[in-house]
Symmetry: C2
Subunit: 324 residues, 2 copies
């Protein structure tokens, strides 16, 4: 089971009245630092503060009326949680969200404020997949997985449909896209969309150093795991291993992956604040960090960069503000 | 001499390939606080971080080739400076900027980084108008005034043209617009545009408490001055008195003005960070502050709110982040 461009187009038709067509931003100062022109897709401006709202709306809008009646369940460190919570409310269904004990407090609070029931678990000790499927079975809820769900991938792929339009609109000559990668739903969706509209464009995943399972898996050709799921500031994109559905897509369509340090990420967040006036969270700023500070980047005059989310606590943001 | 809708349409034709069509954002949490639906026009995402780039591009693009050859001069606390500096560069001319000694350091640095020559003066002791016109005469530069310039007002009015489209696109039912006001270029431009496209919509100015010259002038029917130009955190919108060109437009078209406290402004900045992922500067957040916390607001189910700029120092932003 894979995802085709027609699935993404269908998802776009179902959700386009609900999502923000996020702008493609540019800053002369960022261009100067990067040594090339950067076009930044500003997904922190998406409803609920990240691209995850797209996948959630896509999946919930594709449910049968009967399933929608019973409600949905999701597990998430925060962004997928908020996306599913609001999407559920908009489609008139209820949401139960399984969240780790160390999820940022603003993400937990926002998820509850959107009307979802939150069940906490201990990351590292318990499996969210097990808790999630147990509760989903007991309560007869539809599980909306964060990335290994074709309707979710199709929803994230609507970023690629917007990019395709914006490439024409802004006369962008980029030949590569840098995109954050946790489970790979966003990068797989964008790669699928752009393979259909701009076959010359390569999509590259970006991960935190030490949590670069996708980079290593793409090199090896099979899925490997991260040694740990804890210790990164990029909580939103730390996953144990690439997705079952997403990895074959990335293996077929993506270029080489990149990894960035926490310090590079915080610096990118500061520069996004200074120049773009955009709030990014650490996991949402990894692609920008790679575009600004990475080595061995694709040889292109222009790069497309996905800034994927902005759900960051004030205290973490202050660490970024304190830089340079 | 006034500004007509056709001037704004002409300005839009001259500059639309250079500006960001900034998105109209919404947040369920902000709606809950405001007790009505808010649509926030995100001008911090504009090139150079504020709407001022629109007016600068409009004015410079309207100069004769001969005048453009000689260069332009502007006086500004920062946002107009950055807008003129980059617009000058894009139109192949040089910019000289007269800035107050206490302008935020990031605004001075950004203006210089954009290639402009900066001349400092002492706010309160010297007159920027006098220094500006002296230097402009000596060097035969075209003075681009921050608001009392019909081409600048026409450029700021392009925000109104975009709003008119977005009102249709998002099916907005707002009957009022809240807009920050310094000299009145933005509010006068928007009021002129919307008077043509949406005659039922009223535009309301918002200023810092204690620096509410426009509010008081509109009440009295003639222009009065602020007691001081110092002491507000909203440096971008503190002006001595409404503009000669802008005030008659506002008197004819605007509704009653509003004023907000520094604390309300900081709180609005924090909420824009939390919910919209948008960086706003104090002067850029006054309209949002009024929409969230103001009394005696227009009786409307939905409000349009202009967030006008995001050029804020990290230390000022930290004050906002520290709020509840």
């Amino acid at each position: 089971m894979t995802v085709n461009f027609s699935d993404i187009e269908a998802a776009h038709q179902r959700i386009k009245h609900l999502i923000v067509k996020t702008p493609l931003l540019n800053s002369p100062r960022l261009d100067e630092i990067a040594g090339r022109k950067l076009w930044i897709k500003a997904e922190p401006l998406q409803v609920t503060g990240s691209f995850k709202f797209r996948g959630a709306c896509s999946a919930i809008s594709a449910l049968t009326a009967d399933a929608r009646e019973r409600g949905v369940l999701a597990y998430s460190s925060g962004n997928h949680a908020q996306g599913v919570a609001l999407a559920a409310r908009l489609f008139g269904t209820s949401a139960t969200i399984v969240m780790p004990h160390d999820a940022p407090s603003n993400k937990v609070a926002n998820t509850q404020a959107l009307g979802a029931e939150v069940i906490r678990y201990h990351r590292g000790k318990e499996s969210r997949e097990t808790i999630g499927s147990t509760v989903a079975t007991e309560r007869r809820l539809s599980l909306i997985k964060p990335y290994d769900d074709s309707m979710v991938i199709a929803g994230q792929g609507t970023v690629g449909i917007e990019l395709a339009h914006q490439i024409t609109e802004h006369d962008v000559s980029a030949s590569a896209v840098l995109c954050c990668c946790g489970g790979g739903g966003l990068s797989a969706g964008i790669a699928t969309a752009l393979a259909a509209t701009h076959p010359g464009l390569s999509v590259h995943t970006v991960e935190p150093e030490g949590f670069d399972d996708t980079l290593r898996s793409l090199r090896l050709g099979y899925r490997v795991r991260n040694a740990s799921e804890q210790g990164s500031i990029c909580d939103a994109i730390v996953t144990p291993t690439p997705g079952e559905l997403t990895f074959p897509i990335l293996k077929r369509l993506a270029g080489a992956g990149f990894a960035v340090s926490d310090q590079q990420v915080l610096h990118a967040m500061k520069l996004a604040f200074d120049t773009l006036k955009l709030v990014t969270e650490p996991g949402g700023a990894v692609a920008l960090a790679a575009a600004l500070f990475g080595a061995h980047l694709p040889d292109a005059d222009e790069l497309l960069v996905i800034a994927s989310g902005g759900n960051v606590d004030g205290s973490t943001f202050q660490k970024a503000l304190a830089i340079g």
